[in-house]
Amino acid sequence: MLVIRRRAGDSILIGEQIEVQVIEIAAGRVKLGISAPPEVLILRKEIRLAEQQNRAAAEGVSSGLVRSLLSRLRQVKPSESTEDSKNPPALR
């Protein structure tokens, strides 16, 4: 990873068309201004992490591993879990 020290007001250029400027530095936070062509997607990384994690979570449910997780949580035999229950599940 390239590491560069910059002060408030300084900029860096990425390629020919992207400029990142340090606008303000405050306690534990930095305010950045980004100029880039409209086709360049700019995202806080946490959003991408949330997307990836949501996709992975949705896959886990369809893979049938739910029951083993639940049996660990409940310390019950898998045969006692959801699918064998005669009553419809409660909704909150």
Partner: protein, 153 residues
């Protein structure tokens, strides 16, 4: 009303039980309406069942079941999305259900996403997945469940 879900079979529900994510969830922006399904046998797990995709259900746990002193931070846009007053949001704390989405996979121990909890205002059923930037919480917090059988001696 009725919905045929893949994991829970036929779900009967009242319109006022529907949870609405006005913006969907990250990577699932088209999924706006869900039910909270709580099978007795699997408590304390709460499933977020999509009302659009029968096969889509997220496994969740209340965040404080995972981290008892979990602290939620809400930005003004979060308060607006949940229909909470900006002046006295703390007064509504009792109406909020805060859930962590759990990821399970065959080759890894289960994890909970504490970085992006799902917060539901049970008063008006509005919900949002909040991103807790700078909180230090992990999007892959290991669940305190043993992946292996622990030896007993």
């Amino acid at each position: 009303m009725e919905f045929l879900s893949e994991h829970f079979g036929l779900l009967r529900y009242q319109p006022e039980q529907v949870i609405v994510f006005a913006e969907g969830l990250p990577a699932f922006e088209q999924e706006r309406e869900f039910l909270l399904v709580e099978p007795e046998a699997t408590a304390p797990v709460i499933f977020l069942q999509s009302l659009r995709s029968p096969a889509l259900a997220f496994i969740t746990l209340p965040v404080r079941r995972i981290v008892p002193d979990y602290r939620l931070t809400m930005e003004p846009e979060d308060l607006a999305a949940l229909g909470l007053p900006e002046a006295e949001p703390a007064g509504a704390a009792g109406d909020l259900l805060c859930l962590a989405i759990v990821t399970i996979a065959a080759d890894r121990p289960p994890t909970a996403n504490l970085l992006a909890p799902v917060v539901i205002n049970m008063k008006n059923r509005r919900a949002r997945q909040l991103i807790q930037s700078g909180s230090g919480y992990s999007h892959q917090h290991p669940l305190p469940l043993s992946h292996e059988e622990a030896p007993c001696w």
